[in-house]
Amino acid sequence: MEMTMSAADELCYLSIAELERAYADRRLSPVEVTEAYLDRIEALDGRLNSYITVTAEAARAAARSSEQRRASGRPLGPLDGVPVALKDLYDTAGIRTTAHSPLYAERVPETDATVVRRLNSAGVILLGKLAMHEFASGGPELDAIFPPARNPWDTDRVPAGSSSGSGAALAAGLAAGSFGSDTGGSIRGPASYCGIVGLKPTYGLVSRSGVIPMSWTLDHAGPMARTVKDTAMLLQAVAGHDPADPASALAEVPDFRVHLAEGIAGRRVGAPLAAVEAAGDLHPETLAAFRQALSSLEQLGASIQSIELPDHVQAAAVWLVIASAEAFAFHERDAREQPEKFGRRFFASMLQGALYSASDYIQALRGRALICQEMGNVMRLVDLIVLPTTPHPAMDFATELASPFFKRTSFTRLFSLTGQPAISLPCGFSADRLPIGLQIAGRPFKDHTVLAAAHAYEQANDWYRQRPPIT
């Protein structure tokens, strides 16, 4: 079917839920939607660098199969025919999986990650593999083997990381959904900077088997999309126990989409305002947007109360020891034998892990246990915690590259340490038209409560309808 460029562009901004309805009603077909996405990637991604690998022919073949299933009334599920793209650390059989590193530039896995296998079983169409920070750490590098992804809201700015390509591709309408990974904020940060939705699920809810690790005890795999409902649909397809991941939980998986209707009315919501306001790098427009979001949540029936969170500076130290020690353990042999195969930024970050003793690592694990206890005390008082996802909107590349990682305030790392679910969704824009993110965290395995609260906020505000000025 021929269509004008603007109609094709509109098609690429349909939500997954809208695509599902359009496929069911035969108003659209997976083939034409996939073609529209491939055309848009071809037209725009030269400026965004969100893709490392576009799997155009495989996507077209998958779209034809999906169309046949839809035509015969036997779709594999609501995601059948939905075009998604994956952070390039999810193993994909026969498709190179690079972790954005020279070390893995030619690496082609023989098997799929569990998430990929489950997505294939759900009938999704893989458009390709997305840019990221090397091995999910270290930050963007301008002279990396693949260029760093750029923010569609302002291509001089970073999309945050490490799931940088996922954030950029979703915001620019270059995929309908994505999966990233989050060790300290790598799903939520790009969601915040790019004005999309990203969920770090409860630790253990989504398998990491076949996902190249950064830090085994902190890594979370999770969905990213343009709406909360789409995020819930993606989560539904992959959540649940996987014996191939030793940290995978034996938890029941609820129907996330059904739970969305629960909203936020009657929920006790904790807001650590004092800690937020004390952040040295807090942008005034981020604070203003956060305060507005609190008012909106209150109008939706939530009861807001002030809370104190565990010390974030100590949490940062604990996180850095665990994350860098585990990253170094994974890369130690290559770091010694072929250091030139790493980007210098990642190499320096990972080498921090060589500096700490076994006792330091154990003390950090004990520190994490103490932080979990302290967070448990907070979660006995409230159902949810809200705070900005990031202290400020997207930075430009020069500022990002000059700013040491450990000096920045992180509102996301605490929930990586505790493993509890946390989502980021848009809650406003700066005067420069840069997105601002709201983070909502909940109790372990109450991902559905977090999604329901986020959905209620999203539907009461229309930030998620905004699109970046890239055409």
Binding site: A247, R366, A369, M375
Partner: protein
């Protein structure tokens, strides 16, 4: 989040970093080592702060079968752990 700078502390940290990297057989330039000093000192200070308030009873957080940890009957739904 920046920490107070001290020339002697920087020199000590540089020596510790150099020794650790040498022990690990890792080749790193002097400039790269110098860049690691401030972050290393930040972590050392934060780790020491939390170590000082760690009760003896706190054990390293388990990382396997988190469902069993989260959902133990005596803890109920509101337990936060790993």
């Amino acid at each position: 989040m920046s920490e107070p700078r001290s020339a002697q502390a920087d020199v000590d940290a540089m020596a510790e970093i150099t020794a650790a990297l040498k022990r690990g057989g890792l080749r790193v330039s002097a400039a790269e080592i110098a860049n690691m000093v401030e972050g290393y000192r930040f972590v050392r200070r934060g780790l020491e702060a939390i170590r000082q308030r760690l009760p003896k009873t706190v054990e390293p957080a388990p990382t396997f079968d988190s469902a069993a940890v989260y959902r133990s009957p005596e803890d109920g739904d509101d337990h936060v752990g790993r």
